[in-house]
Amino acid sequence: MTSYSKEVIADLVAGTLPWPQTRRIMSAYKDDDRFFKYVAVLQERVGWKDPILLPVGDHLFICQSGDERVTKCECGHSFGDYRKNWKLKAAIIVRDSEETLREIYPNSDLPDPDWMEIREFICPECGTLHEVEAAAPGYPIVHDFEPDLEGFYRDWLGKPLEPLNKGG
């Protein structure tokens, strides 16, 4: 069975693994022990102790926080219950004018702000830009991902999560 060291996984995740080695990993059979090594690498990266249950973005994790399962920024900021859309608890910058769109698109033709706006969802504590939506004005904010967290641990990983006292 294919398997890589935690150090290799850490470099891969950080984007620092040399390309020939990355390429070999991409071409090889996948390593079935990846998930828990990956989580261990991320756990070492964050500055907090709550166990990571599932990464859902580049710096966004579902973790066990006491009796709750919450979506957390890498800085430690909690966006609340992981079943709710974390974006609704984020800070937002909306680019809906030529001036603000031009800051990101200095050379190209721009969207018509009457037809499309760029929404940036930001951690209100550390300022990390977690997600960008390009949407028509008035379009509801998307709930990107609702994982079947318990089913995943129980049926796919064979390691059921501890039941929650508070129904999370």
Binding site: D109, G127, V142, D148
Partner: protein
């Protein structure tokens, strides 16, 4: 070599039986055990490798018969081997989107009594380019031949080429101006076009009389037939070797194994749950010549996708909430939607093991009736389906990628494909002859970023993983235009920790013709039709067209003065305007205008891909390299990414790490100061929603989605706490 049939085929009954067995057992053709694989796995794998080798070799041979630069240079072709019921067993590389569309074509003939009339006999050749039977768009013309052994139908060999000219209302294959089926070009609707391994003369004459440039289509037909015969003979020789019974069983086990492999791969690489995303597409044609007033000239489509990964590993994609079909060329049939799914899966999940129709069987598409994904009117045009398909499957790639990131397979996460605008042309060639063609250098857009590195620059399109732009000299042989530039477009990839791949732009001088019609398609107007992921921005994909009529370029050349080779980086005054005199044209939307002539200049831009991750985390050293090589501008490095660049003694950019750190800290603070809580923004925005204070095209989009989709209506109403139906007058 021909093997005359000995008995009634009854393939239709066999097809129905196969589908019944799948329904009953959940396994392809009722194959619950892979007996042959278990008996001798090595033989099993070797045989599939052989079949794949037959396909790859037949395609390469056929490419050398073709006269079309689309097939020869860019590889716009795929071939595959099928079961008698029409399920793909093995396929070549190339435009793999068509492996399943061809499957639909074969099944359609079987279901529609082709065994009785026109009959299916050894040596017959059947062709199709009708998307409601099984293809994506009119230029995707497919040929299949039956494979007989010992008097029995034992399979099919099939091949598809994308034709550069389809004889529609505008020249080229992706007939941009088609608003109904009747203007899309030459249709071949599941026809028997040849017998005894020969194309019928009357069919060839029909092609010659109805196409602007029949040499492409006709020689492609010959190339396809040659590849089909080559595969057929290889399969027959293989059956001689392994026995007919073994073949009939193993070919089905290959598919069942493909199905199981796809489910297992999903369970291995992803996380079960619900994933959501969307993109948009804008179309602007008001006042353009040729458009009939059949529908709104300007419109905006939303393309929402909800993807469910079930606990058994099935992927279900649901397009509910998207827009109705329209009088334009961008509608798509279920066959095309299948094709998009198939080609995406083969790239992202089936990179080892068996690739065949089994993968498709492990998925489900929910295509709401009456929408552009599943029109309830078979008269609609689908000539440029890709315009909506590519953005849609780009969303699929981002949804899949989020699941790869959650599972830890970050090396597979990919921000996705983008549209790559097509330019097509016709009129009088540089040789003084009538001509028409699609310029296929669009098969080399920028890719979306990966979760661990930048996207590919000018080297990826979703429909053909073997992406290639073709050599300039070959294109120049085939059209009355000369390249005066083919350049990377700086900042054309979506910004992010890892940027999207950049696009390129071609600048041409019209030469040796007094009548050149240029037409473009598959580019969104007024909205980006792609996205970023995990903080990355979408790529700027709503470019306008720029041309100069009656330019003074020959005079400049004679005087040795500088020419314009690209449009430059000033969005308010292009290099064409700076360098050239003449009638300057900047046009939004599809480029459909009066013919061009010698001395005119035209620039055409393709698209870059979306970005991944927060821009403030981008590597300063890589960015210096990007600036040095023209992928980013110095201004973008500093203004977007917060990377301060100095110059070394020779003038090359060098990252100033300390200054970058300081600048980024300022930018982050500014970002926080500028941002407001989402709840605050929503409260204000809700007032706008309640008043439906939007552009007419946006209001129309909401009204249409609400009319077609109870779920969209419910979600919209719940999100904004409004009555969506009364807000948009959709009651």
């Amino acid at each position: 070599m021909l093997d005359k049939p000995a008995s009634a085929l009854r393939i239709r009954e066999r097809l129905l039986e196969s589908e019944r067995l799948m329904d009953e057992t959940g396994c392809y053709d009722g194959i619950t055990e892979l007996h042959l694989r278990n008996q001798d796995p090595l033989k099993f794998e070797t045989l599939h490798t052989k079949l794949r080798a037959y396909c790859v070799s037949a395609r390469e041979m056929a490419r050398r018969i073709s006269a079309s630069p689309g097939v020869r240079e860019v590889g716009e072709m795929v071939v595959a081997i099928y079961t008698p019921e029409g399920d793909a067993i093995a396929l070549s590389n190339g435009i793999m989107v068509h492996v399943h569309t061809m499957s639909r074509f074969i099944k359609w003939m079987v279901r529609n009594g082709y065994e009785e009339n026109p009959q299916i006999r050894d040596g017959d050749i059947f062709a199709n380019n009708d998307a409601f039977i099984g293809t994506v768009q009119v230029p995707d013309v497919m040929d299949v031949v039956p494979i007989f052994h010992s008097g029995k139908l034992v399979g099919w060999a099939g091949a598809v080429c994308h034709e550069l000219e389809a004889g529609g209302i505008t020249p080229g294959g992706d007939v941009a101006l088609a608003q109904e089926r009747f203007t899309e070009g030459l249709f071949v609707c599941a026809e028997k076009v040849g017998e005894n391994d020969q194309l019928r003369r009357d069919y060839v004459i029909r092609c010659e009389r109805n196409l602007r440039m029949p040499i492409y289509w006709v020689l492609d037909e010959k190339a396809k037939v040659a590849s089909c015969i080559d595969m057929r003979e290889s399969v027959k020789a293989l059956i001689d070797e392994i026995g007919l019974d073994y073949w009939m069983q193993v070919s089905k086990e290959f598919i069942e194994e493909g199905r199981r492999a796809q489910l297992a791969r999903t369970r291995q690489l992803t996380v079960p749950g619900i994933y959501r995303g969307h993109t948009f597409y804008g179309h602007v044609t008001a006042g353009k010549p040729g458009y009939q007033p059949l529908g709104d000239p300007d419109w905006l489509y939303n393309i929402p996708i909800e993807m469910e990964i079930t606990s058994d590993g099935k992927i279900i994609m649901d397009f509910e909430g998207t827009q109705p079909w329209g009088y334009h060329s961008m509608n798509c049939t279920p066959a095309g939607m299948d094709g998009g799914m198939f080609v995406t899966l083969t790239q992202h999940m089936n990179f080892e093991g068996l690739v065949n129709d089994g993968a498709w069987m492990a998925t489900e598409l929910k295509l709401p009736h009456g929408t552009w994904t599943n029109p309830d009117n078979e008269m609609v045009a689908t000539a440029t389906s890709w315009a909506l398909l590519l953005p849609a499957y780009g969303v699929f790639q981002r949804l899949l990628s989020r699941s790869f990131i959650a599972r830890g397979f970050v090396e597979e996460a990919f921000v996705g494909q983008v549209n790559s605008p097509m330019i097509e042309m016709g009129g009088t060639s540089q040789y003084g002859t009538p001509f028409g063609m699609a310029h296929f250098e669009c098969a080399a857009a920028g890719s979306g970023a990966l979760a661990i590195k930048d996207g590919l620059d000018t080297a990826y399109v979703g429909w053909n993983p073997e992406s290639d732009m073709g050599n300039i000299e070959i294109w120049e042989q085939n059209m009355p235009m000369l390249y005066i530039g083919r350049s990377i477009v700086p900042n054309s990839g979506g910004a992010g920790k890892y940027r999207g791949g950049c696009s390129f732009l071609s600048t041409w001088l019209v030469s040796k013709t007094d009548h050149l019609r240029l037409v473009t398609s598959e580019h969104s107007s007024r909205v980006f039709d792609n996205g970023g992921l995990c903080g990355g921005y979408p790529a700027p994909t709503c470019q306008k067209h720029r041309a100069v009529r009656d330019s003074n370029i020959f005079e400049l050349a004679e005087n040795g003065a500088p020419l314009a080779h690209h449009t430059g980086t000033n969005p308010y005054r292009s290099e064409l305007e700076v360098r050239l005199e003449g009638e300057h044209v900047t046009l939004e939307g599809p480029y459909i205008t009066a013919p061009h002539k010698t001395g005119d200049v035209f620039a055409h831009s393709y698209n870059g891909g979306g970005g991944y991750g927060d821009v403030l985390e981008r590597d300063p050293v890589k960015t210096a390299w990007d600036v040095e090589n023209g992928f980013l501008t110095k201004e973008a490095a500093e203004g977007i990414f917060g990377i301060v660049l100095d110059e070394d003694e020779e003038g090359f950019p060098v990252a100033n790490l300390d200054a970058t750190k300081r600048h980024r800290a300022e930018m982050r603070a500014e970002r926080l100061a500028r941002a407001k809580p989402v709840s605050e923004w929503m409260a204000k925005e809700r007032e706008r929603v309640k008043a439906a204070d939007f552009a007419p095209e946006v209001k129309k989009m909401y009204a249409s989605a609400i009319k077609l989709s109870p779920r969209f209506t419910r979600d919209f109403s719940a999100f904004w706490d409004v009555d969506a139906k009364s807000t948009f007058g959709a009651e």
